[in-house]
Amino acid sequence: MMVSMRFSLFLFTISSALAQDAGATRADWPHYGGTHFSWRYSALDQINTANVKAITPVWMFQTGDYADNLQATPIVVDGVMYLITARARVFALDAATGREIWRYQYPDPPRSVPGFVGNRGVAVGDGKVFFGTKDDSMVALDQRSGRLLWRVNLDDARQCGCNITAAPLVVKDKVIVGGTGGDGAHRGYITALNTKNGRLAWRWYVIPGPGEKGHETWKGDSWIFGGGSPWLTGSFDPGLNLVYWGTGNAAADFYDGDRVAAGADKSKDVNLYTASVVALDADTGKLRWHYQEVPDDLWDYDSAYEVLLIDREFRGRMRQALVHMNKSGLTSVLDRGTGEFLGSFSVPEVRNWISGVTEDGKLVGRNEPKLGQTISICPSAAGAKSWNSMAYSPRTGFLYVPANEICNDITPNNRGPEEGRNYMNAEFPVKLPAGRTTYSHVDAWDPVTGKRAWSMPYKYLLLASMLATAGDLVFTGNPEGEFFALDAKTGNKLWRYQTGAGNRGSAVSYAVNGRQYIATPTGWHVSVVGAMAQSLFPDQDWRLGSTLVVFALPENSR
């Protein structure tokens, strides 16, 4: 890695090719974000811009679990696909045929367990399949048989109001996972367990306790219920031995009177380490550096989203960088060794929460909700992008981003916290911005220049992840059920397929016996942002479901 970095100063193409190796998947799709670098990019190019029109469904798998969206990213290792449903039913499937090899059903938690039903994926490693549950257990199954090996409870959902919906991340001999609950009175954390026996390796609390650095950025006892839950999946750089994770917003979401001292300087580091990207030592969980994207968040702008690790040249110097989008659509580019700010760009077309950002990344013109007032803020708490991931192609150098244009009317209140209960402290009904006919777009962004290369508008919202491939294709799906391929260089729509149910999952690509497959989860459901989306378009009836649809070129055409 370091060698390639030095060469790269002289010969960009070589370093670029090597960087491609690190972040691209090949036959397998081993991790939530593809590789540990979270590009959601496959080096497979059998399916490409010239022949994508010919791809056709080759198998489908109906999970039978229609409790909520099929949101999981399928994991594929050695020709076997591992898929989890909303209610934590886990399947091992022959990735070439869809034949079920084994299945495991996690017992449904009692109804008294609060939270939303949903699961965004398993992790596979050390001969095991790992997943989290609504009742805050981490579970390990035998990869070959599906047999339960260990299970450990990390919290009580009835008390914390938190659940595990994110896919875990396997890093060396540990499995690492975050949790939800940061919109409630709860203190978020990341937990690492030993893959072998489930024993605790480390836990990192987003909010520093008494005596720890950063604790002073909280008023009084507000740190105890200050939120910050890291509710998605991080990344890992083996060369630096650092795990990267995005953290959630501070709680109460829309009112800071109880957590920020009057007159605090909001230019940096307020309510650490909420709304931040953090780099943790993979072995100890110790914080190496942080970068707070929204100091004193007042708009429910989590920084919980995916972290893409890319090596690119900035201002004439090759950098080991990372790209990270805050829920506001403000996207930071940082040096991933040090956290140094390299640049930022803002994705939504309709924005009024700030007026701008300085050259060194400071927010300008904060438009804050105030008690006793209702203000219209864009983008909304549903996000300029939701949890669904962007993708990165080293061939084009572009990030592929699904962006939404929604606003919300925020009326804050100052209710106090009750442990594990909602602590958003506002009414914030969503609404569509005036004067538009399209409310989302797939964009290609250049992370070095911060410029948008192309944009493909869409009428409704986009809540499915992006997949980029070396065939210069970008795949994603929409709520109307259409799964489609765009030309990665131009954004032109090259292919589409009506899957029959709304798309809210995360497509992957893999190969078995030399044949490339594109697999996408399908199935809408009316929970959380899905229902917010539905409420904006009441005449639409996006169809529920829970089916994996897998495409390939016809056997005789390869």
Partner: protein, 254 residues
């Protein structure tokens, strides 16, 4: 909270119904705090992250059932243990008014009578309850291994007898803890079951305990262990332990 306690007193010691307008006002407040939370139901029952509730022609019994039991496989939990009885009565009545029921029944024997209530603790017992489940203590809290009052993980069997003092709690005998040996590694364990499918036990080496499921016969047990209960309650001082014991005595009676 004070208001909820006052209403609880009013509801038990005095008589229902009290002023309907007051109940509905409280219901609206409970709804705003616990139901219309942005990602769940919309403001005043309008569209939000969860289904619209206004104008759905729900009857009061149905609303009461859903609020107290939840809806399986959805985000709608049971609120039976999450809200006090008066809060439940009030929020059910409020949602009924959103569905055209102008005078919902809030008295005894009405739709509200099936609602369960949450026990109210005071003083030292309340302090003990907070300590028992104190999230600030991480995995060092009692509820990591004990479930009491619907909070915690039931690693240990339900607490049947409460030690009289912190000293006796620290000296607690734990005859159920054995030594398990698997792949040459010995560890303190709580055996749950031994069957043809596998042997299930808790590994108590560190907190939180890990439930393991191993091949039948692959783990050997001996009856003794060096594990001591005193080693896992070090997050508390004696005064805190005394408060927890007060809580446990009260909770076991409830």
């Amino acid at each position: 909270m004070t208001r909820a306690i006052l209403l609880l007193l009013a509801g038990t010691a005095l008589a229902w119904p009290q002023d309907l307008a007051d109940v509905l006002k409280q219901g609206e407040q409970v709804f705003a705090k616990s139901c219309a939370t942005g990602y769940c139901h919309g403001v005043r029952g309008g569209p939000g992250g969860a289904p619209r509730l206004v104008g759905r022609h729900f009857d009061q019994t149905y609303i009461s059932n859903v609020v107290t039991r939840g809806v399986p496989d959805t985000g709608m939990p049971s609120f039976a243990a999450r809200l006090s009885r008066p809060e439940l009565v009030a929020v059910v009545a409020y949602v009924a008014t959103l569905n055209g029921i102008a005078s919902p029944n809030v008295g005894p024997g009405g739709a509200a009578s099936m609602l369960s209530s949450r026990p109210t603790l005071t003083g030292e017992a309340a302090r003990g309850a907070r300590l028992f489940m104190d999230a600030v203590r991480g995995f060092g809290r009692c509820s990591t291994c004990h479930e009491v009052g619907e909070i915690g993980t039931s690693v240990a069997t339900p607490i049947a007898k409460v030690p009289p003092s912190a000293v006796e709690l620290k000296a607690l005998a734990t005859p159920d803890v054995k030594t398990g040996t698997i792949d040459g590694e010995s560890m303190p364990v709580l055996l749950l079951s031994e069957g043809k499918q596998g042997t299930v036990f808790y590994d108590l080496t560190s907190v939180p305990p890990v439930q393991r499921n191993v091949e039948p016969g692959s783990v050997k047990f001996t009856d003794r262990s060096n594990w001591r209960h005193s080693s896992v309650i070090q997050a508390y001082d004696d005064s805190e332990l005394a408060a927890i014991l007060t809580y446990l005595k009260a909770a076991i009676k409830l």
